[in-house]
Amino acid sequence: MTARSHRNVALHPLRTLGLAASLALLAGCAHWIEDPETAPGEETELETEDFDPTEAEALEDPSDADEERLERARAEGLDPDDPLDAAVLDEPDSPLATRRVHFAFDSSDIRDEDIPVLEAHAEFLREHPDERMTIEGHTDERGSREYNLALGERRAEAVERLLRANGARSDQLEVVSYGEEDPLIDESNEDAWAENRRAELLYER
């Protein structure tokens, strides 16, 4: 259960691993090309040209920018080949980086500050029709569990409605309620309750 709730977090090391694996693969390729035993045997004369460093300086070395982007991707556990992660990488303040919205007690109203976040996700879904999202609704622990299960669904549906109103297709979205069964913070106090009243936006990966 907790494993599932930490899916977001858990995925990141995995993605980093994937990245590391592909880098390792690349390194392997380079090695293969340089392998003298399998390199082509015949040498040809090459043309000679003067090297002009100023010209090179003028063009920003693309490999440096790539390297920096990869570096950040690694640090943040993002996959630069993934369109969603790429969007967050390219715009560090992107609302797409936010995958969680919170609710007031016994309410399923989207708070004003969360509307730009959901609009950004809707736009992303609209522009990437193959992307799929599960919206998980959660409540705090107070009150009746079964009622909370329904309340969690109502929260997730409020998010779903806003995403659809902004261009996401309904077949890109799935709604699941966990009620109070999967708290983010397993404590009994106001701060924990506020954190736990939430909807999680989980892209299928």
């Binding site: 907790t2 494993a3 930490h6 016994d106 009150g143 009746s144 569990r145 079964e146 329904a150």
Partner: protein, 435 residues
């Protein structure tokens, strides 16, 4: 245990200070704990053990805990016993009368010739100086707890003229951190009514909730998230065989058996909002009961099957309503307080237990369905999931607070809250009881 301990220590203190001033002790008792007023004074003497008959299970402590839990008995603390007779012939009734004891339980444990134990009990009326009930049993050691519950039921019936409920098992959900630290583990457990002898019938990494006994008490319906969303299952206790009975789009939850056991009322959101539906278990046919844009959930049946009670926030806040199984007439049942949910109806249909918010905290309350009077019967602050005992005299519920969750019972006559002595790990959350 807080409240019962208080009762006991009060009686004990009174006994120490003013022996044998029973009248004064009565004053004190009534003053401090309203609910115990009118409780029947009883003494349960530890059963005499014959040489070599020394089972680990004590019979008298189980009977004592069972009777005390009901709030209908004022059980004399063991330290206050003036004598420890093992049979009626050895009882001096005047001594017990002087101590204010109305009833006395005595008994003995002996070795039977076939390797089992022979257990004998006598229920004595201190005022008449007569035996009210008595019986002799042969039982294996592993059945002694069940036997103690059986004797408890007989004593309860003999004195209150109401059926006992101690031999009826409970089901609950236990939640704990997995030993490998990888998240939480949920277990569906069936145990004795006092929480002992737990048997786990399902283990899952995903949440489990809302177990409900079939009327024939051989199956449990429950909600499981094993499929990463809520689905309803029915599982046979003895074989462990189970069947998925509701797995529609959206929520599938809150199962409640019809009194005849043929249908389950469930909450589904397959058509939009959470509403109550009936599933015919033989045919699988699904029929809507409520059809409202608000949340309708937590259905439970009245004993004659005429009404289905449920939680709805159609009025803005969760309150309890009732409707007929065909979804005809619907009326609001609760009006006191801004939050009433999770109804459970007493077997005689006269009372409803529910989760009731009061001053920002959650309690178990009873509502008299005739007079609409509401009475809080638990201590709070985060109590939930009330379930009536099969005889209607106790309500079992999840007692919640900062110290976690455990099970407790409250007497419907009030004033007697007692935790179940859990046999689970101390850090295990024990909740969602069904009796």
């Amino acid at each position: 245990m807080t409240r019962l301990n208080r009762v006991w220590s009060t009686v004990y203190l009174a006994a120490l200070l003013m022996l044998p001033g029973q009248a004064s002790a009565d004053d004190v008792v009534i003053d401090i704990i309203g609910g115990i007023e009118g409780a029947t004074p009883i003494a349960v003497v530890p059963f005499q053990r014959a040489d070599g008959a020394d089972p680990e299970t004590g019979i008298a402590p189980i009977i004592t805990a069972n009777l005390a839990r009901t709030g209908r008995f004022d059980v004399l603390p063991e330290d206050d016993l003036v004598a420890t007779p093992g049979r009626m012939e050895d009882v001096r009734f005047s001594t017990w009368r002087a101590q204010g004891v109305d009833h006395l339980v005595v008994g003995g444990i002996d070795n039977a010739s076939d390797g089992r134990y022979e257990v004998r009990f006598e229920l004595l009326d201190a005022f008449q100086g007569q035996r009210t009930d008595g019986r002799r049993y042969r039982a294996e050691e592993r059945h002694l707890r069940t036997l103690a519950h059986t004797i408890s039921d007989r004593i309860y019936e003999a004195i209150t003229d109401r059926p006992g409920t101690f031999t009826k098992r409970i089901a609950y959900v236990a939640v704990e951190q997995r030993e490998d630290g990888e998240g939480r583990q949920h277990r569906l457990v069936v145990a004795d009514s006092d929480g002992h002898r737990p048997q786990t019938i399902l283990t899952s990494d995903e949440p489990l909730l809302s177990p409900a006994w079939s009327p024939s008490r051989d199956r449990l319906a429950y909600v499981s998230f094993e499929g990463r969303r809520s689905e309803v299952f029915v599982q046979e206790i003895r074989t462990g065989e189970r069947e998925q009975v509701a797995s529609f789009r959206g929520i599938n939850s809150a199962p409640a058996w019809s009194p005849d056991g043929d249908r389950l009322a469930v909450t589904l959101s397959r058509d939009g909002a959470a509403n109550i539906y009936l599933i015919d278990l033989a045919s699988g046919e699904v029929r809507p009961v409520t059809d409202h844009w608000a949340i309708d959930t937590e259905a439970t049946w009245g004993p004659d099957g005429e009404w289905i009670y449920f939680t709805s926030d159609r009025g803005g806040r969760p309150q309890i309503y009732r409707t007929t199984p065909d979804g005809g007439e619907t009326e609001r049942v609760t009006y006191e307080g801004a939050y009433n949910a999770r109804p459970s109806i007493s077997p005689d249909g006269e009372r409803m237990a529910m989760v009731h918010r009061h001053d920002g905290q959650y309690y178990i309350a009873l509502q008299d369905l005739e007079t609409e009077a509401v009475q809080i019967i638990s201590d709070g602050p985060a109590d939930e999931s009330p379930s009536f005992a099969p005889n209607g005299d106790l309500v079992i519920y999840t007692a919640g607070g900062t110290e976690g969750q455990r099970l407790a019972t409250a007497s419907v006559i009030g004033g007697a809250v007692a935790p179940l002595e859990s046999t689970e790990r101390p850090d295990t959350r024990v909740r969602e009881p069904a009796w």
